[in-house]
C-alpha cells in the first residue's frame, strides 16, 4: 500500500507526529487469545492526531490493512520524505478531520511495525518468537486495541474506520464491543474471505515457506526469506489492482527496452513493477508477520463467530450506524460481499448507508485520492457527530 503515499497537494497536513507505545498484559495478567493461549506482555505502537474533546466523544479509530502501520498521517520530522499512509484522508479539513476529531491509529497485533508480533523477543526464551508466536485472530487484534482505548480513557468511539483487513477489524469492533462503537465505516471489505481470497493468501504464504531461508520461521539471526516474501507481495499487488487498472497502468508496454530480451529479465513494465514492489517490501516487512496476518484474515468469518450461524444473527449484536463502501473494480473484496453485510444490517433494523463507488483501480481504490470517498466519509462523520452531541 505504501506505493501511493504522497504529500497532500494542497499542503494540508496534521504536521509533525510522534510514534507512541503502550504495553499491557504483563505477566501474570497475560492476554488470553482466541486459540486459548496466553500472550504477554503485549506492546502496541500507536499515533494520535487532533484533540480529544472534554466529553471524550470525538474519538475516531483508524484500522490499517495488511502491510500498514500506526503512521496514518503527518511526518516524523521536517525532513521526513514521506507522510503517513492515509495522508490524503486524515488531516485538517480532510475526510477524517483532525480539527474536529481525535484520531487513534495503532499497529495491529502480529505485525512488525512496532507492535508485538512473531519478530518480537519471546520473554521466555530471550529470542525472537518465530513460529512460537501464537496464531492470533482479527478478534485478538481488536481486543488489544480495546485495551489501548481504555488506557486512553475513551469509553465510546465516534467511529471505527478501515479498509480491507482494516475493514475486518472494523466489523469485529462492531460485534465485539457493540456498546462502544457509535458508528463504523467498513471500506472495501467483507464479512468473510472467499475461497478466491484465501487461495491468493495461501499461494503467497507458500511462496514464503518455500524459501529455504524461511527455515520454519526461525531466520532472525541469519538471511531472511526475502525472495519468498517478495513473491508473496507480488501476488498481493496483482489482487489489489484490476484488469482495467493494469491495462491503463502497464498494458503490454516494455520496460527500458524496445524489443524482447529473449531471456527471463523483466521485459514487460508489469513484471518490472511487481519485482520493484516485491523488493521494496522486503526492506520493511517481516515474512512471518505476513503469514500471521493473512492467516488471521482468512480465519475471520462473522457467520462463524459468536455462535451466530448467519450474518443476520451476527449483526443482531451490532448497534453502530454504518457507512459501507465498495468499489466497482475490486475483485478481492467484490461489491456482492459488501451487499451481503448491508442486507444483514437492514434485516436487523440498523442505520446503514451504502455506496458502490465507480473506480477503475481495483481493491486499492480506497487508498487513492478519491473526492467521492472523502466527501462521503466527511458527511457521514459530521452527521454521526452531530447526532451524538445532541
Amino acid at each position: 500500500m505504501s506505493e501511493y503515499i504522497e504529500h497532500d497537494k494542497n499542503g494540508l497536513s496534521v504536521g509533525i507526529v510522534e510514534k507512541k507505545f503502550f504495553t499491557f498484559a504483563r505477566p501474570p495478567k497475560e492476554m488470553t487469545l482466541e486459540n486459548g493461549s496466553a500472550l504477554g506482555p503485549v506492546t502496541l505502537t500507536y499515533e494520535t492526531y487532533g484533540e480529544l474533546n472534554p466529553d471524550r466523544s470525538n474519538a475516531v479509530l483508524i484500522m490499517h490493512a495488511l502491510s500498514g502501520d500506526s503512521h496514518a498521517a503527518g511526518c516524523y520530522s521536517k525532513d521526513d520524505a514521506k507522510p503517513g499512509w492515509w495522508e490524503i484522508m486524515v488531516g485538517p479539513g480532510k475526510g477524517i478531520d483532525t480539527d474536529k476529531y481525535f484520531i487513534v491509529c495503532s499497529n495491529i497485533l502480529g505485525s512488525c511495525m512496532g507492535s508485538t508480533g512473531p519478530g518480537s523477543i519471546n520473554p521466555k526464551t530471550g529470542k525472537a518468537f518465530g513460529l512460537d508466536f501464537p496464531v492470533v485472530t482479527i478478534g485478538d487484534m481488536v481486543t488489544a486495541q480495546k485495551a489501548l482505548i481504555d488506557h486512553l480513557g475513551i469509553e465510546r468511539v465516534l467511529s471505527v474506520v478501515g479498509g480491507s483487513i482494516g475493514g475486518l477489524q472494523v466489523l469485529e469492533w462492531c460485534l465485539r464491543y457493540p456498546e462502544v462503537v457509535v458508528s463504523a465505516i467498513p471500506l472495501a471489505t467483507t464479512p468473510k474471505h472467499s475461497a478466491l481470497t484465501i487461495a491468493f493468501n495461501e499461494v503467497a504464504r507458500q511462496a514464503i515457506m518455500a524459501d529455504p531461508n524461511w527455515n520454519k520461521g526461525d531466520y532472525y539471526n541469519g538471511a531472511k526469506p526475502d525472495l519468498g516474501l517478495a513473491v508473496a507481495r507480488m501476488i498481493g499487488h496483482i489482487t489489489y489492482l484490476s484488469d482495467e487498472s493494469m491495462r491503463h497502468k502497464f498494458g503490454r508496454r516494455l520496460q527500458d527496452r524496445s524489443d524482447f530480451s529473449f531471456n527471463f529479465d523483466a521485459d514487460f513494465q508489469v513484471e518490472s513493477y511487481l519485482r520493484y514492489q516485491g523488493s521494496k517490501f522486503v526492506e520493511r516487512f517481516d515474512a512471518n508477520s505476513f503469514l500471521y496476518i493473512t492467516k488471521a484474515a482468512d480465519y475471520f468469518d462473522l457467520t462463524r463467530q459468536y455462535d451466530s450461524g448467519s450474518l443476520v444473527k451476527a449483526f443482531s449484536r451490532a448497534m453502530a450506524k454504518f457507512l459501507v463502501v465498495s468499489f466497482t473494480s475490486d475483485w478481492l473484496y467484490p461489491t456482492y460481499q459488501s451487499k451481503a453485510m448491508v442486507k444483514a444490517m437492514k434485516k436487523n433494523d440498523l442505520d446503514v448507508s451504502f455506496c458502490e463507488i465507480e473506480a477503475d483501480w481495483g481493491h486499492d481504490a480506497f487508498l487513492l485520492p478519491n473526492e467521492r470517498l472523502t466527501a462521503l466519509m466527511k458527511g457521514f462523520l459530521e452527521r454521526v457527530y452531530n447526532e451524538t452531541a445532541r
Binding site: K347, S353, E356, A375, E382, N386
Partner: protein, 211 residues
C-alpha cells in the same frame, strides 16, 4: 378549487403535500429518493427517522454527504430485505411510472410499511389528451418530458387508473390529493373538481385492506 400557499417552499409542492401527511417522529423509507430533498426536509422539520434507496451513485453520494441514511440499490430488490412493518411510511414519489412490476412493489411497500405514499404524473391531464388529439404523436409534457424512445417512464397512469389498480391489487386509498403545480413546482393548487382532467400530479396515501 382551494389554493394552498406553501409554508415551506424549499421543497417541491408535491413533496410538501407528502410531508404534511407524515406524522412527526415516525419512521420513513423513501424509494427512489433522488438527492434526498424530501427526506432531508422530513428529518430536519419533522424529526423523522428516514432511510432512502436510490440507484444512481451520484445522487446516493449527495444524500450521504448531506447527512442522510441512504442505500445504493434497486428499489425492487432492496425492499425485499426489510422485515414486516419496519416503517411507518414507505414513499414512492414520482417513480411508479418507471416500475416494471408495480403490483409487486406496492405489495412490498405495504408489507414493510404500515402506510404507503405513491405519487405520479397524471397522464390524463387535458394537455396530454389535447396533444395526442392534435399532433397525433406521443405527448411530451413538462411532467413527462421525454421522447418515447429515451424515456425512463415505461408506464402511463391516469388518476382513475390508479384507483382501479388499488381495487385489483387489493389495497386501500386512504387519502388522495390531485394537484396542479406552477412553473417552478414550488407552489401549486389542490384540484377538487374534474381532477382526472385538470391535475398534473396525483398523490395517494395507501394502506392494506382491513380484515
Amino acid at each position: 378549487m382551494s389554493t394552498m400557499k406553501p409554508r415551506d417552499s424549499e421543497i417541491r409542492f408535491d413533496l410538501q403535500i407528502i410531508a404534511s401527511w407524515i406524522e412527526p417522529g415516525s419512521k420513513v423509507l423513501g424509494l427512489g429518493c433522488g438527492e434526498g430533498d424530501l427526506l432531508h426536509f422530513l428529518k430536519k422539520n419533522r424529526r423523522v427517522t428516514c432511510t432512502g434507496i436510490e440507484r444512481n451513485e451520484d445522487k446516493v453520494a449527495k444524500c450521504i454527504e448531506r447527512g442522510l441514511t441512504v442505500l445504493q440499490g434497486d428499489i425492487n430488490e432492496e425492499v425485499l430485505d426489510y422485515p414486516d412493518d419496519a416503517f411507518d411510511y414507505v414513499i414512492l414519489s414520482q417513480t411508479l411510472q418507471q416500475i416494471y412490476e408495480p403490483g409487486e412493489l406496492v405489495r412490498s411497500m405495504l408489507r414493510i410499511g404500515k402506510r404507503g405514499v405513491v405519487s405520479f404524473p397524471n397522464f390524463s391531464h387535458w394537455s396530454v389528451r389535447l396533444q395526442l388529439l392534435t399532433t397525433g404523436r406521443a405527448p411530451i409534457t413538462k411532467q413527462l418530458p421525454y421522447d418515447w424512445h429515451d424515456t425512463p417512464n415505461i408506464r402511463v397512469i391516469a388518476l382513475k387508473d390508479f384507483r382501479r389498480f388499488s381495487r385489483e391489487t387489493g389495497f386501500s386509498i386512504l387519502r388522495e390529493v390531485a394537484i396542479n403545480t406552477d412553473h417552478h413546482e414550488k407552489s401549486g393548487n389542490i384540484i377538487k373538481v374534474f381532477a382526472n382532467l385538470r391535475a398534473t400530479y396525483g398523490v395517494f396515501l395507501i394502506g392494506n385492506n382491513k380484515g
